[in-house]
Structure formats: structure tokens, C-alpha cells
């Protein structure tokens, strides 16, 4: 098992950015056969054309960015929200070679192997990815370009801990201690993306031999499992406007700024929740050119666009994720309140794909039966 740690190590650049740039035009890596795109550079403007961007339901960008892009390049981006990330990737895998669109954005590191194995992509790594930390491109085989990162972390209701004079937990291991009995709610790893990410975090931390024991302890300590993020955060969690009673929840590192942005009426000066920065699982989201597109060069231009400074600066407030390109200016609500996990956990995508079913089944046995 490979456990990488990064973020904060943002300065670690790809050993040879020149190599990557070269790779972008003559893909030699990845299992997917190329559709025969000539190794030309992506032009900066096109005769008016439309590129269909397949993405998940959480995708959002400021509309003016898209209209500016069209004015500058002649490319109109048609955004198609195609269900959650799992649905999106599975549909792409089923239609590999005869895709529904030209570009896919939103496959993450928990699903990447599935897409690569199915030959969904025409390998393309945007030259703009040269500045992206190596850890983000490590598992991609040059087939896709990382666009953003998000961390699934334990969130805490600060108000509850202050009121009950309990010291908030700081590590995954502490969550099994008696003072946190019946306080934690997590999502079902079998049905929820953050639920799976948290399970993967525990596997990355305690190892394949140790995670079941950890979940046994969590179960003994009264962990509650619900089906989705909405049920966990909005119904069962006591903070962040949630209607529930449990002060510890699995959510995102960006949930505290989201609490401010989506608050009703006058914005609170600070969030009522905070993030436990230990035990976060890092999700990386990628974009790629779909194999079989009739418009490969314009599709590459759209992937480049997703890594452009304007889009990178837009993703925090439109999607509540962190930009992949280091040095991108962040909004104040992010710099003030979004947590930056020092050592986020991650696992090799191929390992995840290989074991997902068995891990989830074992987790189900230990935690729910």
C-alpha cells in the first residue's frame, strides 16, 4: 500500500516539466489507444465549434468565464451534468470509444482506474499541468489532467464542545475514546462518496490489517452510519445549521467556509464548525479528452481552459474545492476558515479499484451487521 502525503509540499514540482509537455502531444503512456490525433499544438482559436463537457452534478463555474472563453477561442462549452461521479464514470466506461461528449471532468482518484481500464480517455496531459505537484499526476499515466483537490475530513461542532466542556478530538485514533461515545456520524461507504473516502482514510492510516479493528472500536463507541452526506450533515450533525444532535461528522475541509457562504441573512463573522486536520482523505479530480471525440483539438483546449488561472481561481467558491495549480489566489473565506490538512491520506487508484468491493463488504460486516 502506498500512502502519499502532500499539500504544503506544493513546491514539489514534476521532475521534468518539459517531458510532460512533450507527452501532451504524443501520448505514449496509458492503456487507451489514441484516436489518431496529429501531434500538433492546440491552436488558440477555432472556427465556431461546440465542445460537450460531461461532468457530475456538483460541477459549477462562473458563467462569465465560459462566455469569455467562447469569445476568445470560438469554442462554446455545453455543460452536461450526468449524475454523481460514479454514474458519470460508469456511463463513460460503458460508452468508451463512442462517447456522449468530448471532455469528461470529475473523475476522481477513487474512480480513475476504472476509467483508465475501460479506455475512456485519449491520453492528454495539459501543458499547464507542468506546475501541478507531482503527487497529483502520479497515478494518471498521462491520460488525464488534475484540475482540483478536495479533502474529506472529520468536522466538529465547536459550539457543542465549548458548551459541554469536552476537549475536541484531534486524531482518528481518539475517536474511539469513551469521551466521544455516541458523538460521531459517518456516511455509508457503500452508497456515499465521502463515506467511501473516510473508509479509505482509515485503511490508509491503519492498514489493510488494521482498519477492521478500528471500525470495531468505532462501532463499540456508538458510531452512527447514514446513507448520504445530506442525511449526515444536515439531519444528524448538530453544527453548521444541521438539525441533529451529534457534534462530530465526516464532511469536507471546505465545509466551514461553505457554512459562511450559504448562511441566511447577515453573514456570521466565523463558522460554528471546524475541521479535524488529521485523517483527511485527499480526492483529486481530473479532466480528460474522451476517446472517440470528433473534436479532439478543441477538446484539448477545454482541458487547458480548466487549468487556466481564471478557472483555477473560480473553483473554490463555485465548487468548494482547492485548485490544483499552486499559487492560485484563494478567496478570503477560504484562507480564513478552510482547513489545510498537513498530511492528507491517499491510496493508489489501482489499489482502490482492485479492492473497493471487498473493503466495502468487509466494512459493512464489521460496522453494520
Amino acid at each position: 500500500m502506498r500512502v502519499t502525503t502532500r499539500r504544503g509540499l506544493v513546491a514539489v514540482l514534476v521532475a521534468s516539466s518539459a517531458l510532460l509537455t512533450a507527452c501532451s502531444s504524443s501520448p505514449s503512456v496509458g492503456s487507451a489507444p489514441s484516436s489518431g490525433v496529429p501531434p500538433t499544438a492546440v491552436p488558440s482559436s477555432f472556427a465556431p465549434t461546440t465542445v460537450t463537457l460531461l461532468t457530475h452534478d456538483s460541477f459549477a463555474l462562473t458563467k462569465t468565464l465560459l462566455t469569455d472563453f467562447t469569445a476568445r477561442t470560438g469554442i462554446t462549452i455545453k455543460v452536461v451534468n450526468d449524475g454523481d461521479a460514479g454514474e458519470l464514470v460508469n456511463k463513460a466506461a460503458l460508452t468508451a470509444g463512442n462517447p456522449e461528449g468530448d471532455v469528461l471532468y470529475g473523475v476522481d482518484n477513487t474512480l480513475l482506474s476504472r476509467a483508465l481500464e475501460a479506455g475512456v480517455f485519449d491520453p492528454y496531459l495539459s501543458p499547464a499541468a507542468a506546475s501541478v505537484p507531482a503527487a497529483l499526476t502520479a497515478a494518471t499515466a498521462g491520460a488525464v489532467t488534475p484540475v482540483d483537490v478536495g479533502d474529506v475530513c472529520v468536522n466538529l461542532d465547536d459550539t457543542w464542545f465549548a458548551k459541554h466542556q469536552v476537549t475536541p478530538p484531534t486524531t482518528l485514533a481518539e475517536l474511539t475514546e469513551p469521551q466521544y461515545k455516541d458523538l460521531l456520524v459517518v456516511e455509508n461507504a457503500a452508497t456515499s462518496s465521502p463515506g467511501l473516502a473516510f473508509l479509505l482514510a482509515t485503511i490508509a492510516r491503519f492498514g489493510e490489517g488494521g482498519y477492521q479493528g478500528y471500525w470495531q472500536s468505532l462501532r463499540a463507541n456508538g458510531v452512527k452510519v447514514v446513507n448520504g452526506w445530506t442525511e449526515a450533515y444536515e439531519d444528524t450533525f448538530s453544527g453548521g445549521g444541521g438539525k441533529g444532535t451529534r457534534p462530530i461528522v465526516v464532511s469536507y475541509a471546505t465545509s466551514p467556509p461553505a457554512e459562511i457562504v450559504y448562511a441566511a441573512g447577515p453573514k456570521p463573522t466565523k463558522p460554528s464548525t471546524s475541521v479535524m486536520t488529521d485523517g483527511c482523505f485527499r480526492q483529486v479530480e481530473y479532466a480528460g479528452v474522451l476517446r472517440g471525440t470528433s473534436n479532439p483539438l478543441a477538446a484539448r483546449a477545454v482541458v487547458d481552459f480548466l487549468l487556466s488561472p481564471a478557472v483555477q481561481a473560480d473553483v473554490p467558491l463555485s465548487m468548494f474545492v482547492d485548485p490544483a495549480v499552486p499559487g492560485t489566489p484563494l478567496p478570503k473565506v477560504f484562507t480564513d476558515f478552510a482547513a489545510v490538512p498537513a498530511k492528507p491520506l491517499t491510496l493508489d487508484p489501482a489499489l482502490i479499484e482492485k479492492n473497493r468491493s471487498a473493503w466495502v463488504d468487509a466494512w459493512d460486516q464489521v460496522t453494520l451487521r
Binding site: D57, G83, Y262, A263
Partner: protein, 525 residues
């Protein structure tokens, strides 16, 4: 006596269901089915899901029928003020989208209840009460009450009258309603996804999980087949039983069969119906309250926000969603009425094969929505029949769900048509086609009006199949509500509540408008 070339009516429905349901289903099953898929049948977890699916469906059906029968009696046999209003109120839940109901239930119930069998059964009763009230009540209101009077005159007590007269006459309708409720609850998706917990999962949700989360297409295909076979078996057995129990009788006009509240029994039944109405109204009221609650004050903020188009591609103005939902509904209704009307005629006028056609039309209701969605995706993928990403695929998917409901509305009317009318027309020298036009068509068109109302409601609220079909335009109302609910903060939950109220209002108006079309003997659902 048959109208001209009655069998030709079957061509259109067979072609539609064949092309847009059977073919995609066969394609996806062919792609998925493999010996390794059978492993799923050897797993204890699968049988836990099958057991839970069956248990909750039986409980939901039993409870829905038990609570629905008194209400059906009160609303169709008793005469009291406000009867129509209560009938409309108890019908609205059936056409509400599951995301809305799920949100409303979650807002009302204390947290420890979430994910329990009790909550799922309660939500199923809430949804399906209308099915029992409509199907059984519609039939009950036409029962000639002189049979009961005769029994009473001969000295039978109320229990004996019920046991020996009313129940045997009513049994086929109760069975029909039970079969429908069982079908809806056995294949329940939205309710279970929103209100269920990790250990309370139906087959439909498990198929979704295997398809979307695990990409286990062999397992999903096996379970999908298992579910379709189970559902069709139950429907066919229920159909057979229904015909065996059917009692030939003269039905009377609805008004002739109602009577004022007289006995203690009547009062008890009426009281129970009122309590049920209040309980049904609560979740809807909770939504209205939530849409008006801004922080710790009251206000119209969320309602105003509906008209504002936000800055990102994900922010859709509510009116765009309304426009999209309504235009899909118009197309879906057109398809459902034309295809469903033709199917009803085919079933009513022909003997051979009409059972099978009827069952075939019901099959989409028993099939996993995600399976149909994926099937459409890999079937219609070659130009010029590349329908992926085209808007038309959405109303087509909605029509598949609405057609059986149109058939259920129209068929009883066609069957109840007095054959002597046609004989008289023929005796007077009318040609068969002219007889059909002058006798059947006027009745048919009224029934289709009612069916159109239900089709529109189904289309507006549909969250299963269509949420798996991608499109570039604005999301439908239920999908947009689902998206708002998946983000934190009061801004999103408040707008979701306001949008839900909009959806409830539109659906309720459509259903009430369709009710005005109702033929006195119209079948109901």
C-alpha cells in the same frame, strides 16, 4: 362486437414499449449477464436485501389497505361537506416527487427514527393511500347498496353484511389496489434512498448501488432480472385471482350510492379519515413553513431567490426549471395519452393476448430505473438514432412510467360501456367505424383527459429514470430540488423547500383540473 381492426391498436404500444423498453433492457442485460453475476445470488447480503424488500412491501401494502379502506368508504359512500376537498388532499401525495416527501419527512421526524423500517413504511403509506382510496373507492361508489339493504332486512348484523355481501363484492378491487401498492413499494427507490439507512435497503437501491458505485454490471443485471420476474409473477397471480373472484353485477351511478352520516360506525370511519387527512397534510405544511422561515424570523427571501439566476452554471433560476419540467410534461403526456389510449383499446377490444399486453405495459414500473437509463444509453448510440443527450429521451422515459397509469384509468371505462349502445347504433345502420367514433370515442376522450392529468403529474414528479438521463438544459424541478438539498446551508434548504411548494402546487392544480374531466364511471388511480 368489435370496432374495425381492433388488433391494429396493439401495434403502437407494442412498438413503443418494444423499442424504448424491451430492447434497451435486453441490451443491458445481455451486456451484463454472465455466470459470475450469479455469485450475487449466493451472497447472504443479497438475501437480506430481498427479505427486507419483501417484508417492507408486505407491511406497507397491508397498512395502506387497512387505512385506505375506511377512507375509501367515507369519501365515496358517505355524503358530507368538504368531501371533495379531502379527496383531493389525500390524492396529492401519490403524485409528489419522492425527494420532496423525503425532505418533508426528515424535517418532521426526530433523528433516531431515520433509516428505520417504520419510517419507510410510513412514507409508503403516505404515498399510496391514494391508490387504495381511488381504486377501491371508485368501485365502491358504484356498488348497488340494495344488496346490503336486503341482507339487513333479512336480519343480518353489520358484521355479517360486510362478511357475506360487501367484502365478496369489493374483493377484486381490493386485490387490484393491493397489487399496485405492492408493485410500487417493492420497487421503491427514492423513498428508500432518502429515508432508508444502511441496513434498510431495497432491491432497487441495491441494483443502483451495484451499477453506480461498484460497476458490478453482472450482479446488477442478475438482480434486475430477479426483481422483474418477482414483480411480474405477483402481478400475473393477482390478475388471475382478480378475475376468479370477480362477481358479475349491475353497477349504479355514483351519486345513488352515497348516504348521509347515520350510524356510529359511519362517525368512527369519518373520524379516522379526518385524522388520516391531517397526518397527510403535515409534511406538506412543514414544507410551506420551512420555505417561509428565514433564520429565526419569517420572510419571503427564499421565494424571491427563486427568480434570481445565480452567477454559476449550477445556479438555475427556478422558472427555468418550471419551464423545462412543464415542456417535458407536455410531450410526455402526448406520448402517454396516444400510446396508452391505443393500448387500452387493444386490451378492451381483443381477447387473445390482452393479458400479456397489459402485463408488458406494467413491466417498466417493475424494472430498475437505473437499468433502463443505462440501457437507453448503450442502445441509442448510433447516428441518426443517437438519442443520448437529446431532450426527447426524458419525456420518453417518463411516458414509459405514465402509460400503465393511463391504461388503468381508461380501461375500466371502455369495459363498462354498455354493449347495447353499440348494438343500437349498428341496428340503425351505422358502420362499425362510425359506431366506434360516435359511441366509444366520446367516452374514451373524457377518460383520456383524466389519464392525461395523472400522466402530467407523474412526469412532473418523476425522479427515477429521468435522473439517470443526461441533458444539457436546465434540470427538472425534482432534480433541481435534489441538487439544492445536496449542499449545506439554509440558503439551499430554504430554496429547496420553496421550490418543493411550487412543485406541489403545480401537480395539485393539474390533478384537480383533470378531475373535472372525470366521466361519472371513470376508473380511477
Amino acid at each position: 362486437m368489435q370496432p374495425p381492426r381492433a388488433r391494429w391498436f396493439a401495434v403502437l404500444p407494442l412498438a413503443f414499449v418494444g423499442i424504448f423498453f424491451a430492447w434497451p433492457l435486453a441490451t443491458v442485460l445481455h451486456r451484463g449477464l454472465s455466470p459470475e453475476g450469479l455469485d450475487v445470488l449466493r451472497s447472504a447480503a443479497t438475501w437480506r436485501v430481498v427479505r427486507f424488500t419483501t417484508v417492507q412491501a408486505l407491511l406497507s401494502t397491508g397498512l395502506t389497505v387497512g387505512l385506505g379502506l375506511p377512507a375509501a368508504y367515507a369519501l365515496h359512500r358517505l355524503d358530507f361537506r368538504g368531501r371533495r376537498l379531502l379527496l383531493a388532499l389525500l390524492t396529492v401525495p401519490f403524485v409528489l416527487p419522492t425527494v420532496v416527501v423525503g425532505a418533508a419527512f426528515r424535517a418532521l421526524l426526530p433523528e433516531p427514527w431515520t433509516g428505520t423500517l417504520a419510517v419507510i413504511v410510513a412514507a409508503h403509506v403516505f404515498f399510496n393511500l391514494a391508490v387504495v382510496i381511488r381504486v377501491v373507492g371508485g368501485f365502491w361508489s358504484h356498488l348497488d347498496d340494495r344488496w346490503e339493504q336486503a341482507a339487513r332486512t333479512l336480519g343480518a348484523g353489520p358484521v355479517t353484511v360486510w362478511r357475506t355481501v360487501t367484502w365478496p363484492l369489493l374483493r377484486p378491487a381490493v386485490l387490484a389496489a393491493s397489487a399496485l401498492v405492492f408493485l410500487f413499494t417493492f420497487t421503491s427507490f427514492g423513498v428508500v434512498l432518502v429515508l432508508g439507512g444502511p441496513t434498510t435497503t431495497t432491491l432497487e437501491v441495491e441494483i443502483y448501488r451495484r451499477t453506480v458505485q461498484l460497476f458490478d454490471l453482472p450482479g446488477a443485471a442478475t438482480l434486475c432480472l430477479l426483481q422483474v420476474v418477482a414483480v411480474m409473477a405477483v402481478l400475473l397471480v393477482a390478475g388471475r385471482l382478480q378475475r376468479r373472484l370477480a362477481v358479475r353485477q349491475r353497477l349504479v351511478r355514483a351519486a345513488a350510492a352515497t348516504h348521509p352520516v347515520r350510524t356510529v360506525g359511519d362517525r368512527v370511519v369519518l373520524g379516522l379519515t379526518l385524522v388520516e387527512s391531517v397526518i397527510v397534510a403535515l409534511p406538506i405544511l412543514a414544507l410551506v413553513v420551512e420555505s417561509l422561515r428565514v433564520g429565526d424570523r419569517w420572510g419571503l427571501d427564499w421565494w424571491r431567490a427563486l427568480g434570481v439566476e445565480g452567477p454559476t452554471t449550477r445556479d438555475v433560476s427556478a422558472w427555468d426549471s418550471v419551464r423545462v419540467s412543464v415542456s417535458y410534461a407536455v410531450v410526455a403526456v402526448l406520448i402517454a395519452v396516444v400510446v396508452g389510449g391505443a393500448a387500452s383499446c387493444a386490451i378492451a377490444y381483443t381477447r387473445r393476448g390482452s393479458d400479456l399486453l397489459d402485463a408488458g405495459l406494467m413491466a417498466p414500473l417493475g424494472t430498475s430505473a437505473v437499468t433502463i437509463g443505462f440501457g437507453l444509453l448503450i442502445t441509442f448510440d448510433v447516428a441518426p438514432f443517437d438519442l443520448r443527450g437529446r431532450w426527447i429521451i426524458v419525456p420518453i422515459g417518463q411516458a414509459l412510467v405514465a402509460i400503465p397509469l393511463v391504461v388503468r384509468t381508461v380501461l375500466p371505462v371502455l369495459r363498462s360501456l354498455d354493449p347495447r349502445l353499440r348494438e343500437v347504433a349498428a341496428t340503425l345502420g351505422s358502420s362499425p367505424s362510425r359506431t366506434w367514433r360516435t359511441v366509444d370515442v366520446p367516452v374514451l376522450s373524457r377518460a383520456l383527459g383524466v389519464g392525461a392529468g395523472f400522466a402530467a403529474a407523474v412526469s412532473l414528479g418523476e425522479f427515477g429514470a429521468t435522473s439517470f438521463l443526461a441533458r444539457a438544459d436546465a434540470p427538472t424541478l425534482p432534480v433541481q430540488i435534489g441538487r439544492l438539498l445536496s449542499r449545506p446551508g439554509e440558503v439551499n434548504s430554504g430554496q429547496a423547500a420553496a421550490l418543493s411548494v411550487v412543485l406541489v402546487a403545480i401537480t395539485a392544480l393539474v390533478v384537480l383540473a383533470a378531475e373535472r374531466w372525470r366521466h361519472p364511471s371513470a376508473g380511477s388511480l
